[in-house]
Symmetry: C2
Subunit: 141 residues, 2 copies
DNA sequence: AGCACTATGCTAATAAATTAGCACTCACGT
DNA sequence: ACGTGAGTGCTAATTTATTAGCATAGTGCT
């Protein structure tokens, strides 16, 4: 027998929580969007299932405690239950340990390589000063 | 009804491929380890199932094309089928777009914040020069 | 030879994720 | 008043992931 072959091998996930593929895909979308309705999420998926399926997932993810919703008029607007910054940091940590042998320098290098053109002078300056700060922080230890 | 509640909400995943939770957990372990036997993987899991289960997962992941194995004497040694660097970059990209609004600067800031103490002077120097390189690269455009 | 250990091959059972579908409500326009 | 569209509530079916278990082979030891 051959397995269903789990679709595009190059679509990464990088999200927290130990969830099924759809669940994580949807969590990712909500993280990206910040706050989103079922329709928003549906539109954000490259691989969209039915509208119903998305709603069901959202409901389940809320049941599991990963999402919250507030009512905006007639519709539900979902957002992550956990603090986004927290989750992002946690994802970074995991990324480091999984792909970069825990080396922040290596990871930053990869990011800079990846982004190269997307960086403004202002951002580069900001990064420089962050590094200086890290250097300083290291001294008094 | 209440859902099984998908365990520690703070264990992130950050790995590529759209897989089930165990599958991804195991892929992550293999990425971290580079090459690993079933026993290695088992030992690397914080949440270990049975040895049998791990073996089955590895077999399936290979069937799906995510892993390869070579025989080392009596045992199988698994390694990722895809180029690790490739996958790492892809994971970074996804991390950026999901949690940092596509902003490399923001992500780097998060990493530096996370790593803070783990950075040697040499690494900091290396990062500085990477940034300078990016600055230079931007000029001639 | 027989035992313990570690490995794989394979299969079947269970749990979980994923999907679609239908019923209902509310608001709005005709 | 009625149809239409966009929303939710809920459930049942299916597919996939996950697990454990048993049979078998080799190796080394006593």
């Amino acid at each position: 027998m051959t397995r269903p072959f789990t679709r595009e091998p190059t679509v990464p996930s990088t999200s927290p929580h130990q969830l099924g593929r759809r669940e994580r895909q949807i969590m990712d979308a909500v993280y990206r969007l910040g706050r989103a309705t079922a329709a928003d999420v549906l539109a954000a998926l490259p691989d969209p299932p039915s509208y119903s399926a998305v709603r069901a997932m959202l409901r389940i993810l809320e049941e599991k405690g990963h999402l919250r919703h507030e009512q905006d008029g007639p519709r539900y607007v979902y957002r992550p239950a956990a603090d986004a910054g927290e989750v992002g940091r946690s994802a970074v940590k995991h990324l480091l340990s999984t792909f970069f042998n825990g080396s922040a320098a290596q990871a930053v290098a990869a990011i800079l390589g990846e982004a190269r053109d997307g960086l403004s002078d202002a951002e580069l300056d900001r990064l420089s000063s962050l590094i200086d700060a890290a250097r300083a922080g290291e001294e008094d230890r």
